[in-house]
Structures are given as structure tokens and as C-alpha cells.
Symmetry: C2
Subunit: 418 residues, 2 copies
């Protein structure tokens, strides 16, 4: 639990010299097992690197250590009227450093982009203990290779991030939230790309299928949202901005689109409490599924117009192999979280045959122009499937880069690749 860059550097230099594996760990909320020390060695926690170092209101930037909770950082800059948009569902407990490691997204990504779109510069301790900055604190940079973007999403396999410089934007003053029920999940998914084609960019566009809502309601014991028998899926759609009139006009445009897709009665949140309730329902889905059964979560992402086809394939493959799935996620980005439930399936099926089904599913994702992780990373749990989306040439390039940073292979070994 080092307390500063110098201590991280000393730990790394020692471990490098003695060939000891180092697994960096943020808050441990990751969904791909990247922070598990599967090879033993040193678990390097960033929890004491927890200071927000400087909020630069003149340049709309913040410099922070990696062990700051994402929501704490968001609230600190919001007090100055500033906005750091990426908001994973775990924002109340995850660390900003972990968000960098996984290139996290969240609901706001559809309008505001993901973590990689906000990182200007990183202080990085290399496996040999040397300390470098990856870039500069500027909005434009054409000076050498983009090491900053190489580190983002590298899942702790190239070095330890000890300082982070993020760009910020002015915080929008207003938002509106609507919940739209659909009689089929394909209709819900089809409405998504139709809305973007209208020229509206919502600040969130979340899809939840019926079971996701039912499980979430049970989990928080709140049934205030009435579910029509025919409703098979919901879209939770947020718009934001600084002018009421624009928000109203956006909502009207969205309404004119969704009513073409056999939707039910649209609910518009009337106050902050109602908004918070709807968002809470969405945010607990992951936890709620976990409570229901042992599960595996896939983090598929496709071009958004291919969502209806992906959903169909998920259910077809589920029917073929005999598993139940609950789908939800960031529909506006084409990022679908597919939770596969173990229910009463045998361990043997779960550990062997199911991998065939997942392989089939990921092959469909790849065929649709997508990939196997949108925001959770590959880590420990998805390593077996990397060959579906990468050729051996691509993998060798990435391993070559890994070797440049970490010739002894001590950084988070056996993650991303075996």
C-alpha cells in the first residue's frame, strides 16, 4: 500500500530485480478479474494514493492520484461547475485508476465518450521503477507516439499509473429522464439507432430487458414502477443541456421516434427523486442478477444498428444450449451486457460446454463488426476468447509492446493473454 510515487517506484524496482509478479489493484470492482493476483507475488494497492491534487479551473483540468473514488472526484469538480462524465455503475466505490486500466464507460459515454476521451497525461511507474509522464497537459498533441492512449485500457500490464491529468468540461445545468416500455426487445433496440438518425444525442440511452427490471425491483424491494404484462424491454433515455426549451424539444423528437416502435406509455421523471429511483433501478441490475444465481457477464459491443440482430442471436444461442440470459446495457453505444445465469445447470456444462456457446456468441459479435469487451476489459476471464477478434499477428504486436515495457513479465502476468 504505497503512499507516493517514490514508494511505488521502489517496490517495482525491487520486484523487477527479483522477478516477483506485481498485480496493481484499485477498488477491486472490476468485472474481468484483472486485479486478482493469480500468479501470487505482490498485490500493489493504490488505496493510499487517494488525493485529488489540483483542480485547475483556468484550464478545465484536474490532476488526481489513482486511488480516488470516481464519484468523489466527480463531486469535487462539480462543486466548481465542472464535469468529468465517465460514470461506471460502480462509480460510488470504484477508483479512477481502475477506470483508466479498463478504459471504463458508463451511461454518459453515449454523448460524452469514455475514459480515454478525458485523459490528457499519466504519470507511470515502469516495471523497472523508472517514472515517466506519457504525454503533456494539453488538448492537442502530435509529439511522438501516443503512450497515454496505450496505457489506458492496458489493464495494469505495462506499469503502475500514479498520477492522472483529466480534462473537464462545463457541467450541464439541466437534465430530463424518460422511461419507454416496448413490447419486444428488438423494437427497443431498433428505436435506438432511429433516435440518433433524428439528430438527437441523448446523454444516456440504456436498455433493460424485462427480467433485468424484475430482478432489480426484487433486489431493492421497490415495486413502484408498474410493469405492463406486454412489456418486454425498457429504454431509459436522458437528455441534458442548459436550456429547458432544448431539452423539451429533444424529448419531443425522441417521443416521435419511439411511438413508431410499438412502445407503451412513456414515463417522464417529474423530479429528482423520481430520476434517482429510475437510475437506481438501472444501476443495481448487475448486483441484482448476481443475487439471483451464479452468473457470467459478457460485455459485448457492436455498431449500434446491429443491436437487434445481436439480441436475437443471444436468445437463439441460449435456446440452443439451454441457458437463461438477462440483457441490459448501454444501447446507445451498442454495448450490451449479457448475463448468463447458471440457475440449475450442471458444473460440467458451466465449465466446458458453455464456453462453446460463448465462443459462438462472440463469433457473431465479431461478424457484426464488434468486439468482446466494450468497457470491462479482458483481464483473467476473457483470455480464452481473444483469438476470435485478434489474429496471431495482432496478438504478437501487442505482446511485443508488452515486452518493451516489461521485459521480465512481472506486471500483472497472465492477464489479457495466458
Amino acid at each position: 500500500m504505497p503512499e507516493n510515487t517514490s514508494e511505488v517506484s521502489q517496490i517495482m524496482a525491487y520486484c523487477n530485480q527479483h522477478n516477483i509478479a506485481v498485480t496493481p489493484r484499485g477498488a477491486g470492482t472490476g468485472l474481468s478479474g484483472g486485479a486478482l493476483a493469480i500468479e501470487g507475488g505482490v498485490m500493489l494497492s493504490t488505496e493510499k494514493l487517494n488525493q485529488i491534487l489540483h483542480i485547475d479551473e483556468d484550464n478545465l483540468q484536474v490532476t488526481t492520484e489513482p486511488g480516488v473514488i470516481t464519484e468523489v472526484l466527480q463531486n469535487a469538480v462539480k462543486e466548481r461547475g465542472l464535469f468529468y462524465p465517465p460514470d461506471p455503475a460502480s462509480k460510488g466505490s470504484c477508483f479512477i485508476g481502475g477506470n483508466i486500466a479498463e478504459n471504463s464507460g458508463g451511461p454518459k459515454a453515449v454523448k460524452y465518450g469514455v475514459v480515454k476521451d478525458y485523459v490528457l497525461n499519466l504519470e507511470l511507474v515502469l516495471p523497472n521503477g523508472e517514472v515517466v509522464w506519457t504525454g503533456a497537459n494539453v488538448l492537442k498533441n502530435a509529439t511522438g507516439y501516443n503512450l497515454t492512449q496505450l496505457i489506458i485500457g492496458s489493464e495494469g500490464t505495462l506499469g503502475v499509473v500514479t498520477k492522472i491529468v483529466l480534462r473537464l468540461i462545463p457541467h450541464p445545468k439541466l437534465d430530463s429522464l424518460m422511461l419507454v416500455p416496448f413490447n419486444s426487445i428488438e423494437d427497443a433496440a431498433s428505436a435506438v439507432s432511429a433516435i440518433f438518425k433524428m439528430g438527437v444525442i441523448p446523454s444516456a440511452m440504456e436498455l433493460m430487458e424485462r427480467d433485468a427490471i424484475l430482478m432489480a425491483q426484487k433486489f431493492i424491494n421497490d415495486y413502484s414502477l408498474e410493469l405492463d404484462d406486454q412489456t418486454q424491454a425498457h429504454l431509459l433515455i436522458e437528455v441534458d443541456g442548459n436550456e429547458d426549451a432544448i431539452l423539451m424539444s429533444d424529448l419531443e423528437k425522441i417521443f416521435s421516434v419511439v411511438e413508431q416502435f410499438d412502445c407503451g406509455e412513456v414515463l417522464i421523471a417529474e423530479n429528482e427523486a423520481q430520476k434517482n429511483n429510475l437510475w437506481r433501478l438501472r444501476r443495481v441490475v448487475g448486483e441484482a442478477v448476481k443475487k439471483q444465481s451464479i452468473y457470467k457477464e459478457e460485455d459485448t459491443v457492436v455498431p449500434r444498428a446491429s443491436l437487434p440482430e445481436l439480441l436475437k442471436k443471444v436468445k437463439l444461442i441460449g435456446a440452443e444450449y439451454g441457458f437463461r440470459s438477462v440483457c441490459y446495457g448501454h444501447a446507445g453505444d451498442g454495448n450490451l451486457h449479457i448475463n448468463i445465469l447458471k440457475d440449475s445447470l450442471s458444473d460440467e456444462f458451466w465449465n466446458t460446454t458453455l464456453n462453446e456457446a460463448i465462443r459462438k456468441l462472440f463469433s457473431e459479435v465479431s461478424r457484426l463488426g464488434g468486439t468482446i469487451s466494450g468497457e470491462h476489459g479482458i483481464g483473467y476471464v476473457q483470455r480464452d476468447f481473444l483469438d476470435i477478434v485478434f489474429s496471431s499477428t495482432q496478438i504478437e504486436l501487442m505482446k511485443g509492446i508488452k515486452n518493451v515495457f516489461d521485459p521480465n513479465g512481472i506486471m500483472n502476468p497472465k492477464k489479457i493473454w495466458k
Copy 2:
């Protein structure tokens, strides 16, 4: 002049086998000499790879070959109501592939970001002739290292880009343009960060000092803009959006800021012709300076609040070493183009002593948290100064990556580094 990926692949494989240098070249409009075959060998032109392959209106994406002129691409997607924002001054002649190589920016970057913010996926021919895609056609990606971002801005030193997938956004319907004269260039620069602090994000925020305007007027022989004797600099500020009322409110907010900085009479363009005239004045500055004298252009970038300090240093160093400079550029991004004029200076001064002055200037840029190229790249002309912003460790990491892609060192040799 290959006509497809397969021909590029065959050329590369042959050259790799025979250790022949390959210099990829777009339209040759670059400002850092990256497309010059300084080591001889093969000049690989992308001009026959000039097809826009697919405009995907469902997913707001376009797939294009690299030899398409940037403005041609912009106009093609605009016809479908879509917007590809990055717009270098050379947009009427430069190729989109060259924009990828240099991570180009342009005036719109201040609101919409640079090239790297729009590239989803690249088809890349490696030096050994193998063809890979760097990512997937998706908005979020946490699958392996970000090879896409590594290639952007790598100046043709890692491979040849043969296909490009860009994300697009809905085209804003309206824009307004204002020109604000200031009595000091420092006041103009100080107004820049004050405007952002008001919560307004203009779609362009360009700075031109007095000499830049004078030279541009002379160059196009159009003196319709009257320059007050006291005016030392102008800000050209654009706002865009879909609602007149919002644009008006943005202009008013900006006006309330600039009038605190001793500005002269603000000109608001009344029609498209006037807008085009003002933009033309800005876009020809580079050409106009070139006509004036032999010159060197520096592409400095700093956190935007440090612009006034940078400007002061430029003039101080100019006075110390006895050279004249013309400054202009993308003030909203902190990206200042500093044109140093040779005028009647001796060749000896120009080729030796001046480098000391540039070194001094770049050291100031680095001290201010900036870097030596915002959008032009390092290429051939800035290689000598790389040590100012990078430690030997950083350079070794980058060279290590280069070696992974190009072990024989045939790709655009002696660029970025010697």
C-alpha cells in the same frame, strides 16, 4: 502508386525483404517534412487509394481510403446531414490519411476534438506486408491494447494505413461568427480562458496577431476589413448549434467577457459571404507568411491559460535574438503557431544560432506544461528538439514500439528520431 491494399502489401513485403526504405505520402501538405523520402528508397503515394467506401447512416460511420481529400470527405457526409469535424487549414487539398498520420486538428478541434477523437478502426499494412485491423468499428473498446490510437500520429513510421473507419456526428444546423479586435495580444489571449470559464464552448476560437492579418490582406489583396491603428490582435470566434436563441445567448455571453479585456468594436458576420471572407483571411495566413519571407513554423501547444505567458516569451526571445515572429492559431486549444521570419537574417544565423532560440522557446513551452507539436508532428524538422520534452526513457519506449512493428527500420526512416 498502389491501387489497393493487396498492392501496398506486395510493395511492403518486397521492400522489407530487400531492406528498402519506404516513405508513405499523402497530398504532401504536411508541415514537418514527414512525407519527404530523405533516405531515398520507395515513395509510396496513397493518391490512387481515393475512394469513400461506405457511408453508414445507421451507425453514423464512414469507411474511406486514405487518399481522399479531407474536404471531399466532409462534403460527402454533410450531404447526408453528418459531420466529420477535424478541418486543418489545408482541408481543400490534404488527404485524410495524412491527417491520421499527423493527428491533425484545425479550428473546430476546440469544441469537437482532433482526428484521434473520430477514428474507430484502421486497416494497416505492416512493414512485412501483413495486413491487420487495429480495432473494431465500435464506440467503446476495452479489448487489448489500443493499436488504433498508437497508429494515429505515428507519422507513417509503423505501417501504411489503407482503410479508415471514422465515427460521425449529426451536422449542426447553424453557426455564427464574430471577430473581436484587442489592443494587446496578451489581452486577446487572456480573454480566451475567461470565455471557457463562462461555460461557453465555441466551435472555433482563433487568434491572429496584427501582422498575420496585414499579411493575409496583402496576400489576397482584400482590405475590406478595416484595421484600427490600436488593434494588436484579433480573436475569430464561432459558435454553432441547432437553435438561434442559444447561439445568440452564447454570443452575448462571449461579448460580456471580451468587453472586460479592452477590446475594440466587435464585428458579427451578417451572412455567409462575410463569414467566408473572415475564414478565408484566417486560412490564408500560413500561405501569406510564406510569401513574405523564408520562415520556420513552430506548432507549440500549452494549457490555454498559459497562452499570454507564452506569447510574452516569444516576443522576448525574438527581441533577444533579433528575429521577427508572426503568431496565430487555435487559441482555444492553447495551440499557437509561431512563424519566425528570415527577412534579411544571415544564413549562418538561420541555420545555427536560431536553433538556440527555438530551443529556449520550446523549453518555456515544456515548463508551461505544453509540448512542441500540437497538430503538425515532429517529422523531419523537429527531431532535434525531442529531448526537450522527452527523457531518454520515453524515447527508448517509443523506439522499442517502433522496433516491434518495423524491425528492419524501413518505414519512413529518420523521422521523429534521427
